[in-house]
Amino acid sequence: MTINELQDEIIEEFSSLDDWMDKYALLIDLGNSLKPLDEKHKNPQNIIQGCQSRVWLNAELNDGIITYQGESDAVLVKGIVSLLIQVLSGHTPDEILNTELYFVDKIGLKEHLSPTRSNGLLAMIKQMKMYALAFKSANSK
């Protein structure tokens, strides 16, 4: 599936839930089922420090495809990390760089991304794109 198809799929899943608490319950499920990040990747280099919670992010490039892994100490943040990985992981650097992430806004979780929340998520998205850019320029050399 393309990145946008994946985003649309998530939007559909969330839009079937009217109540805020149901949306959050789904996010908690997603957070709890996120594959834990290997301990070796949970190093200070991979940490994205937020004011309220911390996020770890690791990325690897294999055969031109980026695989992201991430984790957070807060489960709601972990849920969004899981969604971001679901959407972006398994794509090429170009695909990731050319993507506009609209799903977070559409499913009503934008507040988690506002700079004032400082939960590390905004920085995580930036970092995901930075990885894509770094892999792309490394490839083109």
Partner: protein, 407 residues
Amino acid sequence: MNNKQIRLIREDFPILKEKIYNKDLIYFDNGATTQKPRCVVEKMEEGYYHLNANIHRGVHYLSQKATEAHETARNTVAEFLHAAKREEIIFTRGTTEAINLVATTFGEAFCKDGDEVIVSVMEHHSNIVPWQMLCERKGMKLRIIPMNDNGELKLDEFQQLLNERTKIVSVTHVSNVLGTINPVAEIIKLAHFQNIPVLIDGAQAVPHIPVNVQELDADFYVFSAHKIYGPTGIGALYGKEKWLNAIPPYQGGGEMIQTVTFEKTTYNELPFKFEAGTPDYIGSTAFAEALRYVQKIGLNEIADYEHALLTYGTEKLLEIEGMRIIGTAVNKSSVISFLIGNIHPYDIGMLLDKLGIAVRTGHHCAQPLIDSLGIPGTVRASFAFYNTKEEIDVFIEALKRVVGMLQ
């Protein structure tokens, strides 16, 4: 205060009727800022609509009226703190600016390389960073008063920190995270034995307990209006006259001068020496109105009622499995910080928000304290006199639901 009185008081705060995500707002974030009663907002409106003119030097009617309102507000603050003289009250932008003012000017006048400043482990960043900056400028050392497991300062260790290099002690009256009411009178007495002045950060104290700066014998006492039902952007610095005369001005500009020539400027007398620029005379009058409002309810009545909320809230919270209250001092104001099991505070705060309940999560601008406790932060519920036991019941039910989802 009885239920009827609380109902009437709640009528004074229109925001308490707001719906948040279609739920009744329960506002338990009073430690961060308090809501404003109608009379305070009306005072600001009246100021802008009927009293607005720049103060102090205007010869015209409105300017004189505005000056009078501003200076009367100073009297109200002085009386509220039981200051000896009205000139000992300096209007600032808030607690943070007041501490910066003292750290900068006192530091300039009295501190040198090798000197020491004492703060406590439970300080808000605004009572750490200004002193740290002073230490960096002057090559001084910051010394820290530790606390016990209940979150009470260890006075015996404090005594050992005091020495001939100590230039000033700056501690909070009430901890914004733990709720601990510190024995500031004793701290001041111990410091004064060695002729060391003390600044008390009263931001979290004045809304909850009566303060008498002369009885405390505090050298400086600072607080913000917005934490005591007043407007944002204004606060007060109390300083003993002898200290305010001994330290240099903080900022230069209009208001704070006597005469200006390009060769030399002479400074105005107290309190104007420290109030450069056009003062917030609209804010000051609304600030005074807020102080009158709490005094009308009665600070002792407020303290008693809030203590009852604290006791009730603590009991109810402890019924929840895995509950860990952070801060169990004997003397405590109406602030409850807690953690439940391994749940991250952020998750609890976000879910409570969706149920209309405003609490604070995180390190509460006291990172060194949170680090020393070895926790990621806390969830903090802080009560004001317009909160009720019924609201606590709703909060507890919501919390149980949230914990159920997260566990």
